[in-house]
Amino acid sequence: MLSPADPHLTTRPPAPVKGSSRSAVCHAAGLTLAAIARVLSGASVRWISSQPDTCQRVYFSNHTSHLDALLIWSSLPRVVRERTRPVAAKDYWSRGAVRRWLAEKVFDALLIDRTDIKVHQSPVDLMLREIGDTKSLIVFPEGSRSVNGEIGEFKSGLYYLAKKRPELELVPVHVDNLNRVLPRGEFLPVPMLSCITFGPPLWLEQQEPKVDFLARARRAVMALKES
């Protein structure tokens, strides 16, 4: 496996997070919601051949529930969490004042318009512009939540992210059983036990075709389910 193109990236001390726009209330709300979600979903967190790090990363995960992003975000150590932004669908998260407040102020989410993707304003460019050279992202390459718990085909955004910023660490994440805690179309959770597994980072190989890379990334997530 290739090492990052820029080796000092992983070793340099974390740069201070720029003056966050989040107020103390939003910060507290984030911590509270994260704690509630952790308790409700009985989430245990595993890092397999992988360590939490403040270097720039893209966490890519299977998508089964609205709680996914919240739980992945809350299972990161605080210093990492503060520089990690979930990517979410604008059509869902900007509907209604509460959702918009949660997405924009509490979780500092990066909202992507799924219905209006243009060539000159591609979501990938937007993401890269927003994260600058300090922040990390949580993405769901399947694009939408799976209905039956199976992991669907990955959309190509992950590939273009890796192609434009090859030094970003791509960390596979597997979310297990959350689809039973809060399935698609339900709003009341059932407190079943779930598990979040972080795997070893991967990078885009030189000249690796898009299809191969996406299949490899998907396999990396699926492999975490078995381990």
């Binding site: 297990d176 039973r180 079943m192 598990c195």
Partner: protein, 325 residues
């Protein structure tokens, strides 16, 4: 605390635990004794479980009856969580499960804490069952309907209903004359609860020990590979012996009644272990703890207690010869 019998029980248990802890640590440090290291590890993890159990029970004892009922409620909640996580459910069960977790389980324990035996003794088996059936039917998914509802009911009865009888021991009017209106939940009731847990744990261990020593005939090879008829019988006999020796700790019991209770507790503990093994075998896991990595496996620890608690409660009722209603 100033009751000599309670004190004797506490000192005795602490001494016993210290001894087995020392033995466990000795075995861990000397792997050359020819013992299976996996067995030593599981022995030590069991001892750790006992220390936790004792600490938590002591804390509950100190905080009073309500705290103990709440504690058992939380244990039930967690056990049910493990049970349902292990059980395949369908989307149509989701809302029924929500109410089972957040309405029926707490409501049952509230009834227990108010000592409403008249209601809580039928609440889950009757109304819980009716609710689950109706709610799953209304959700509109009829596939394997009876199988799915039966799973939820089994979880409710074993994890919540049965276990709550251990907490309900604290409500029994054992230390006061039968005429008393309100039972005095004194140290006598806590000793009764402790008596139950001690005997269940002891029976579990004896089953293992007797099976290892003289076990020949497996009860059901496809369900459990280490539970034998010899282990069952040996454990039943040794548990009733221990119970008859400890009869003074359990308030209303005479020695022979205590021996009988010990015998039945051992059998019920065995039944609970077998039942949970069958469920685990069916789902292809070895214990509930490994089901979701990082969780302790509460159900593994309390399966025998769940089955023994209601029977012990009712035997105590008979022995006390009072009506709770």
């Amino acid at each position: 605390m100033n009751d000599p019998r309670t004190l004797a029980l506490i000192v005795g248990v602490l001494a016993l635990l210290s001894i087995v802890t020392a033995v466990g640590q000795f075995l861990r440090r000397h792997p050359d004794r020819g013992l299976d290291p996996a067995a030593v590890r599981s022995f030590n993890s069991r001892i750790r479980g006992w220390w936790i159990m004792c600490t938590v029970l002591a804390a509950a004892f100190w905080l009073g009856t309500t705290a103990t009922v709440v504690l058992f409620g939380l244990v039930s909640f967690w056990a049910l969580r493990e049970f349902i996580t292990l059980t395949p459910t369908r989307l149509g069960d989701h809302r029924a499960l929500f109410w089972v977790f957040f309405a029926f389980t707490p409501a049952h324990y509230v009834l227990v804490s108010y000592n409403r035996y008249d209601i809580y003794s039928v609440f889950l088996p009757l109304y819980g069952t009716l609710f689950v059936l109706a709610r799953v039917a209304i959700a509109g998914d009829s596939k394997r309907f009876l199988e799915r509802t039966a799973k939820i009911q089994a979880g409710l009865v074993v994890c919540v209903y049965c276990l709550s009888f251990a907490a309900a021991l604290l409500q029994l009017p054992v230390a006061t004359p039968p005429s008393a209106e309100a039972p005095l939940p004194g140290t006598a009731n806590f000793r009764l609860l402790f008596f139950l847990i001690l005997l269940v744990q002891f029976a579990d261990c004896m089953q293992y020990v007797w099976s290892r020593m003289i076990g020949r005939r497996l009860v059901a090879a496809s369900v459990s590979s280490n539970r034998t008829w010899e282990g069952l019988l040996g454990s039943a006999v040794s548990t009733s012996l221990l119970a008859s020796v400890l009869w003074w700790a359990a308030p209303p019991y005479q020695p022979w009644e205590a021996a009988l209770a010990g015998f039945v507790i051992s059998l019920m503990g065995f039944a609970g272990g077998m039942t949970m093994s069958a469920i685990k075998r069916d789902r292809g896991v070895t214990d509930y703890g490994t089901l979701v990595t990082g969780h302790g496996g509460v159900l593994d620890r309390i399966d025998s207690t769940c089955f023994a608690a209601p029977v012990f409660y009712h035997i105590t009722l008979l022995v006390t010869d009072v009506a709770v209603l």
